[in-house]
């Protein structure tokens, strides 16, 4: 058997899922479309962002939405040197856990910065909104250093 040339082909496997978000995440996304960020108050008084449906301690249904600030503090971060196709930015950026003002737990989002050395734990950041908001997490295009 002679050895044929190597054959290669790219192909894509796609799953075109849609997801029902429910009333709590639905409220969060609807607020994002209006350029507001809301969390929800847990039984111990903590404000959780993005809001969750059930209390982490008592498992009771939560319903008290709280608007939080559009600025916050980086709790931790990872610098992405080489963004991949699916990433929200096509230049180096940071994934960060950001605790928004008025919130008690951090949420993940991306931080635009010119260099890794500009990003630090404890740094203040503020939300940058997309030109057009649609009710999706990318309505916050990114955070930038405040």
């Amino acid at each position: 058997m002679s050895q044929p040339e190597v054959l290669q082909q790219s192909f894509e496997l796609g799953f075109t899922y849609t997801r029902s978000v429910g009333p709590v995440v639905g409220r969060f996304l609807t607020e994002l479309r209006n350029r507001n960020i809301v969390g929800i108050k847990a039984s111990d008084g903590r404000v959780v962002v993005p809001p969750m449906e059930y209390d982490p301690d008592t498992a009771e249904e939560l319903s008290e939405f709280v608007e939080v600030g559009q600025e916050g503090e980086i709790v931790s971060f990872a610098w992405v040197k080489e963004p991949r196709e699916a990433h929200p930015m096509d230049r180096p950026f940071a994934w960060a856990m950001i605790r928004l003002d008025g919130a008690d737990v951090p949420m993940i989002h991306c931080v635009a910065a010119n260099a890794e050395s500009d990003v630090a734990t404890g740094a203040r950041v503020k939300a940058v909104w997309a030109d057009e908001t649609i009710g999706f997490i990318t309505d916050i295009r990114c955070f930038e250093l405040a």
């Binding site: 058997m1 044929p4 192909f11 639905g26 479309r33 009710g135």
Partner: protein, 175 residues
Amino acid sequence: MSEEQDVITGIEAPVYLKYNFTAGAAAARFLHQIKKGVLTGQRCPSCQQVYIPPRGSCAACGCPTEEEVEVADKATIQSFTIVTIPIPNNPIQPPYIIANLVADGANISFLHLISECVNEDVHIGQRVQALWKPEEEWDYAMDNIRYFRPIDEPDVPVEMIGKLPVTGWEGSADD
């Protein structure tokens, strides 16, 4: 919260997996042959089963398979399904039939389309033959065969499916 717009109830959450598939020696050899309009499998040196498309080894024995065997473009329907639900990005409009076919001279099935048939009349054991694309369109692809279509030959009993010689069903009946 704005009263003017509807509350968000759902999001798009697609997942796309992008692969670069390398055929490997056995599949590449198969694809080079099908580019010439020839279906080529491999025979296991131990159990004598003929695999098409070949994977380079016998799934049952684990032996490397090197002997190349040409199989026919006539085949028998081993199983089939009538697809009635559209699949996103699939150019074929339902209803259509996808079938496990065993080519004459092969012992394992491959998937292909059945067409030029009454869908409700398609059945296990039915004899079909490849309808090839025009030769100038042949590429390194199984869809050089547009589909398989029924031929006027008697049905193959279930216990004989996957055991026909390359000379075919009527050929074997004459033996």
